[in-house]
């Protein structure tokens, strides 16, 4: 995979590695959890329970899950304003996520960051980021530290197609290639930068930009879990083996709003109903479910996974709703490690 390549349908290619039934089941569980959590947060927003709007990950679950399934404890992930999926794919705490989005005391960041800033250092999640592209340099630094600490750790940066327009991508590719950093740059190309169709603000192909830096660039179907997993495996392995960075472009689609509040301020739709419906037929969840069924997993088992995800989301939402607001002392106390402002 040394050059830019789009494989027609690698997930069905028998020569490529296939996940075991248990691996697939575990990944499916994560995807379902992300879906149900995001839907619940969407409902909570509509019900007026959230202090601010949220950017949900619905439709893109295969990206976070397929990549993170290739990671190990101790690896690092930098994320975006649409970061709940990455957080959950890294086993971030569901209650902590809800409480954070609700702005409450027991939020994973004590309510100080909110939805676009979820971070859990104990799980290697070094921060969602509300500055578009902001995570790219940070992940590069985590990869540098990983290389210097020589413990075989890898850093992954998730970012959007919109973020790929920031100069940081080129800057990071350059130094990561020069220094052979254990970095995997994962662009989730979901068709839009806010309301601007990707093609109107993105020249050429994102994956092919890697070639100029001598870095492998790979584009795959981001709605196909197995393709993502198959592409991420070699990228992570390459990084871990000290062979340098890879750029993955996962072609996916955001089926929900850019931000849940958007219908309140947009004058017209920015995409057609047909386009959204067409992408719904490529929803990543049923595709995995179908494969599991084909592998002999019973429907009731799959339904149980779904019910459990819904229960977890509902329970965490109820927890967040009654969780107290943070104490005012944190406003002054959090800024420095050892000094009041």
């Amino acid at each position: 995979m040394d050059t830019y390549a789009v494989n027609a349908n690698p997930s069905l290619d028998p020569t490529l590695e296939q996940p075991t039934r248990d691996e697939l089941l575990a990944m499916y569980g994560r995807m379902v959890l992300i879906r149900r959590v995001e839907e619940r947060l969407g409902d909570d927003f509509t019900a007026g329970k959230l202090p601010q709007s949220v950017h949900l990950y619905v439709g893109q679950e295969a990206c976070a899950v397929g990549v993170c399934a290739r990671l190990e404890d101790g690896d690092w992930v930098a994320s975006t304003h649409r970061g709940h999926g990455h957080y959950l794919a890294r086993d971030g705490d569901v209650r902590g996520l809800f409480a954070e989005v609700f702005g409450r005391r027991d939020g994973i960041c004590r309510g100080m960051g909110g939805s676009p800033h979820v971070a859990d250092f104990s799980k290697g999640i070094i921060g969602a980021n509300a500055v578009v592209g902001g995570g790219i340099g940070i992940a590069t630094g985590a990869a540098l530290a990983a290389q210097m600490q020589d413990r075989g750790r890898v850093a992954v940066c998730f970012f959007g197609d919109g973020a790929a327009a920031q100069g940081w991508l080129g800057e990071a590719l350059n130094i990561a290639a020069l220094w052979r950093l254990p970095l995997v740059l994962v662009c989730e190309n979901n068709g839009f930068a806010e309301f601007m169709p990707t093609a109107t603000v993105t020249a050429g192909s994102i994956a092919s930009r890697a070639a100029g830096y001598g870095v492998p660039g790979v584009a795959v179907d981001g709605n196909d879990l197995i393709e993502v997993w198959q592409a991420a495996g070699p990228a992570v392995a390459r990084a871990r083996a000290g062979q340098g960075p890879t750029l993955l472009e996962l072609r996916t689609y955001r089926t929900r709003a850019h931000t849940e509040s958007e219908s309140g301020f947009l004058s017209r739709p920015y995409r057609t109903v047909e386009e959204v419906e067409d992408w719904r037929t490529r929803d990543p969840l049923p595709r995995v479910r179908d494969r599991l069924s084909a592998a002999g997993v019973r429907d009731d088992e799959l339904d149980t996974i779904d019910a459990e995800a819904r229960r977890l989301a509902a329970e965490a939402s109820a927890f967040a709703e009654t969780n107290p607001w943070p104490d005012p002392s944190v406003v002054y106390g959090l800024m420095f490690h050892d000094q009041e402002p």
């Binding site: 919109g162 947009l266 004058s267």
Partner: protein
């Protein structure tokens, strides 16, 4: 005159100036925003907050340009186009993102005219949203106008009313120097009387929004509304508060501030920016160095604490200046020992 919102007033200024001068162009993320396909020819957003709705249809996409998320290139391109004959109005969606493109502001646009021996003009306007209040968190809520004011070569405007939003923006667009135009996101829905047609508010001329004799409040941007409310509240008790809205921090109308302080002898400054090295400190320093003899009480600064903006709404409100905090500050200047001694 008609009643319009702050947002509508901004739209009107842009529209009038674009009709007047074909060199005016708009650059920014989602200033059009498009419907699917590859051309995005149908506008959906017209600005993330709807300010440029309908502009693409009226002025064409050559003058109303959706940019990628690329703030350095947005401001850089605005700079280059301004040096070579256009009058760009570029949008940096949230003021926090000046972090992404600060070089183009700090080292480029602010320096061109001076370092090129006055041989060029730099008619750029950067429109950007400041302020807390929506629970948007530490990277979407800052008020960094003092940081920009501290850069010689930049002009900085902070409208607090719809009329000023219109008049200051028109002035900014016609100005031949770079202007950072700071719109407060919480003010977007505020309404007020706005003069019809072409309307200009000169830079460096403060607006006295309340007349009074006992205490001077200097307030910036949204804080002007809070100061006015406090002045009205205290007027019922016979405390007469003068409220001054400088409207631009660069240039700053020092004379109006000093005149008022000479008259009242008491100064409260209300600003949403940082208490350190900020506009509140600057105005207090102005009074201390130029009007010390007139002061009957120590000036008081009402600002947020020197911390990032917390996301959780409850603490964000706690963090922000409030009418109660301002009232307390006004009373402190009236109760001051210095005042009793005087």
């Amino acid at each position: 005159m008609a009643v319009k919102t702050y947002r509508e007033a901004i739209t009107e200024a842009l529209q009038i100036e674009m009709r007047r001068d074909p060199r005016v162009i708009i650059l920014g993320e989602d200033v059009v925003g498009g419907l699917g396909g590859t051309n995005g020819e149908v506008e959906a957003a017209g600005g993330t907050f709807g300010v440029t709705a309908g502009f693409a249809a009226e002025f064409g996409r050559r003058r109303v340009i959706d940019t990628p998320i690329t703030e350095s290139a947005i401001v850089g391109a605005a700079n280059g186009a301004a040096l070579t004959g256009l009058r760009p109005v570029a949008e940096v969606m949230f003021m926090d993102f000046i972090g992404v493109c600060l070089d183009q502001m700090l080292n480029q646009m602010a320096k061109f005219r001076y370092m090129f021996g006055g041989k060029c003009d730099v008619p750029v306007v950067i429109r950007t949203l400041m302020g807390a209040g929506f629970g948007a968190g530490p990277q979407h809520s800052q008020s960094l106008h003092a940081l920009l004011t501290a850069i010689p070569g930049l002009k900085v405007a902070l409208p607090s009313s719809p009329a000023d939003a219109k008049g200051l923006l028109a002035t900014a667009i016609r100005d031949n120097d770079p202007v950072i135009f700071c719109e407060h996101k919480v003010l977007y829905g505020e309404s007020g009387e706005v003069p019809d047609g072409e309307y200009l508010v000169p830079f460096g001329e403060a607006n006295v929004t309340r007349r009074g004799n006992h205490v001077t409040i200097v307030a910036f941007s949204r804080m002007v509304l809070l100061a006015n409310a406090v002045a009205d509240r205290l007027a019922k008790e016979g405390i007469s508060v003068e409220v001054i809205d400088p409207r631009t921090t660069s240039p700053l109308d020092r004379d109006s501030i000093l005149e008022s302080v000479e008259k009242t002898g008491r100064l409260v400054v209300v600003d949403e920016g940082d208490p350190y090295c900020g506009m509140a400190s600057e105005i207090v320093s102005l009074a201390a160095t130029e009007a010390l003899d007139a002061l009957k009480a120590a000036p008081v600064k009402v600002t947020p604490p020197h911390t990032p903006v917390p996301a959780t709404p409850h603490l964000e409100q706690e963090w922000l200046p409030s009418p109660d905090k301002i009232e307390k500050a006004v009373r402190a200047t009236l109760d001051s020992k210095l005042a009793r001694a005087g």
